[in-house]
């Protein structure tokens, strides 16, 4: 299945979303893998699962979750974990991932736990690390496989005297749990641009994001995400609604030079364009892999 986006150690995929199901079935494009959001396939049956079974016949699948809320102090939802385990058994995915975020908590004055349906920031403190490690370990034990945990874009941050640097926090997570990391380059750039706008001394965004990549344990990074962001003027929002921006490509090039040909996903979740546009972005990512990590070409 060699193509500009697969073969010769090149491993690039796209997120398969509902608007592309028909086009996908007709074209079956040659890609290294296909990513889907796990929660979209939690149903007992129906068309979506049938589509996914068809995809799995020809492509590796990466299951990417948005709802485990791994950093929630209240813990993991049993129902969610069981649905995910059932899906993992059905799909036998190449990778399973979710985010270093919280979303589950009881509202103040209540004992009923609700879910914010968002990727909310966690503190980078020893106590928060204990919570994240316990939840990741529980998921890994149930799934009987290592998880990839993704770094966030965040628009708020907890104020802590004993906070750790985020790369140090993520490295400690991998050491303690054996999990891998999903490096979202777009999130790094979004955070770096917003940090510079809040405080000019924070550093040039591409350089700051590259330094973040350099501070991570290279061997732990199992997948990279690329996406577009939206610049509102005041704040840059990680909306996955456009082509990958140039600063993100620049950091990705640096990441591939350091990490090699890590499986890379083109993510596009809002204002989803024609499948052709995603495939075009995937080809550009494959070209970066070839240029930036040529020594693996014969591997």
């Amino acid at each position: 299945m060699n193509s500009p986006a697969s073969g010769d150690g090149i491993d690039v995929g796209i997120g398969l979303r509902q608007p592309h199901y028909r086009d996908w079935a007709e074209r079956r494009p040659a890609l290294g893998f296909v990513e889907v959001h796990s929660e979209n396939f939690f149903a007992d049956g129906g068309a979506a699962l049938a589509v996914l079974a068809g995809v799995r016949e020809t492509h590796a699948v990466s299951l990417h979750g948005v709802g485990l809320a791994l950093g929630s102090a209240v813990g993991i939802d049993d129902w969610h974990l069981e649905r995910l385990a059932r899906l993992v058994d059905r799909v036998e995915p190449a990778r399973v991932s979710d985010h270093a975020c919280f979303a589950r908590a009881p509202l103040p004055g209540s004992t009923t736990v609700v879910h914010g349906a968002d990727l909310l920031p966690i503190a980078f403190t020893p106590a928060s690390l204990d919570i994240l490690c316990a939840n990741v370990q529980r998921v890994q034990e149930r799934l009987r496989r290592p998880l990839l945990v993704e770094n966030l874009s965040a628009y708020l941050s907890f104020d802590d005297a004993d906070a750790m640097a985020e790369p140090e926090f993520l490295a400690a997570l991998t050491r303690r749990t054996g999990c891998g990391l999903l490096l979202d380059v777009n999130n790094l750039v979004v955070n770096a641009i917003n940090a510079q706008r809040a405080d000019a001394s924070a550093g040039e965004p591409v350089a700051a994001a590259c330094a973040f990549v350099d501070a991570l344990p290279a061997a732990a990074i199992g997948e990279i995400h690329l996406a577009g962001y939206c610049d509102t003027g005041e704040l840059v929002i990680d909306d996955h609604g456009s082509r990958v921006h140039e600063p993100v490509w620049a950091v990705y090039r640096h990441a591939v030079q350091r990490l090699g040909r890590v499986p890379t996903l083109i993510e596009w979740d809002t204002d989803v364009p024609a499948l052709e546009v995603l495939l075009d972005e995937a080809q550009r990512a494959a070209a970066v892999q070839r240029e930036a990590s040529p020594r693996q070409a014969a591997a």
Binding site: D44, H115, G116, L120, S128, L156, F158, D159
Partner: protein
């Protein structure tokens, strides 16, 4: 710093995001951002949540959205999000409260049928996401072998039943997406509402998509009794003398409603999921 404090400040942040007003002082003490940057950050998360709420609810309740219009539906989605936040990380599990929420909202009083229209949309969703199952044809031999008192008919898990005092099937049909709208697509709705009669429906899959079909009262009574687990004899009694079992059986087999027949004393709680 303790796990308890992490839990408390996660609770405060989530509470602030689900509230409509500015951040409480306690939240401001938790976060690095202050004043304008704090409100801007909260605004980014709240805007994302509003978009998620609107898209998730519109996907589940397209008929309600078509009836009230996109703008009012967006307001409704945000109100439901605050009043009954998602219980789980799977958004398909959110919004089940919408029919009752609509019926409790005074603004929707003139549209008394809206709650049942929402119930029908929800039935369509359940139908399309239920476990897949096919007719176990060999079990139909039990219809000739067993007394109706000791026999039960089971429907495929995707089948849904609904009865309403309103013409919900007619309302549903008139508000489906289509390439071209007929000159007077809503005439049947006006006629049905003017006639003041309700409709009972079965929702079942045609391929992967749900199809809404009206049922006459005897057929609905029969199917509801079977759905509730009653024996064939009990369901026949509920259906009454006007019910034609043979005609119904042909229709049920053609439409793929039946899963299997099973003896009552040997039946096990069993689902194909």
């Amino acid at each position: 710093m303790t796990a308890l404090r992490e839990a408390e400040r996660q609770s405060r942040l989530l509470g602030a995001l689900l509230a409509a007003g500015p951040a409480a002082d306690a939240l401001a003490a938790d976060l690095r951002e202050r004043d304008h940057r704090l409100q801007r950050g909260l605004g980014a998360y709240r805007a994302n949540a509003a978009g998620i709420a609107e898209r998730a609810l519109a996907a589940a309740y397209p008929t309600v959205q078509a009836l009230v219009g996109a703008e009012d539906f967006a307001v409704l989605a945000r109100a439901l999000w605050r009043a009954a936040p998602p219980p789980r990380g799977d958004l398909a599990q959110w919004g089940h409260d919408l029919p009752a929420f609509i019926e409790a909202e005074r603004d929707f009083d003139p549209w008394s049928y809206l709650g049942d229209c929402a119930r029908l949309d929800a039935a369509v969703q359940r139908c399309e996401s239920a476990a897949d199952a096919e007719l176990q044809r060999e079990t139909l031999a039990l219809l000739a072998e067993r007394a109706p008192e000791s026999l039960r008919l089971r429907f495929v898990p995707s089948l849904q039943l609904l009865a309403s005092d309103w013409p919900i099937a007619t309302l549903h049909a008139a508000h489906q997406e289509r390439d071209e709208l007929a000159d007077d697509a809503f005439a049947p709705v006006r006629e049905a509402l003017a006639a003041g009669h309700g409709e009972s429906v079965v929702v079942a899959r045609a391929g992967w998509r749900a199809q809404v079909t009206t049922l006459d009262p005897p057929s609905h009574a029969w199917m509801q009794a079977l759905h509730d687990g009653r024996s064939v004899a009990g369901a026949l009694a509920a259906a009454g003398d006007d019910f034609d079992f043979n005609a119904w059986l042909v229709r049920a087999l053609q439409q793929g409603w039946l899963w299997k027949a099973e003896p009552i004393e040997e039946s096990l709680e069993e689902n194909p999921s």
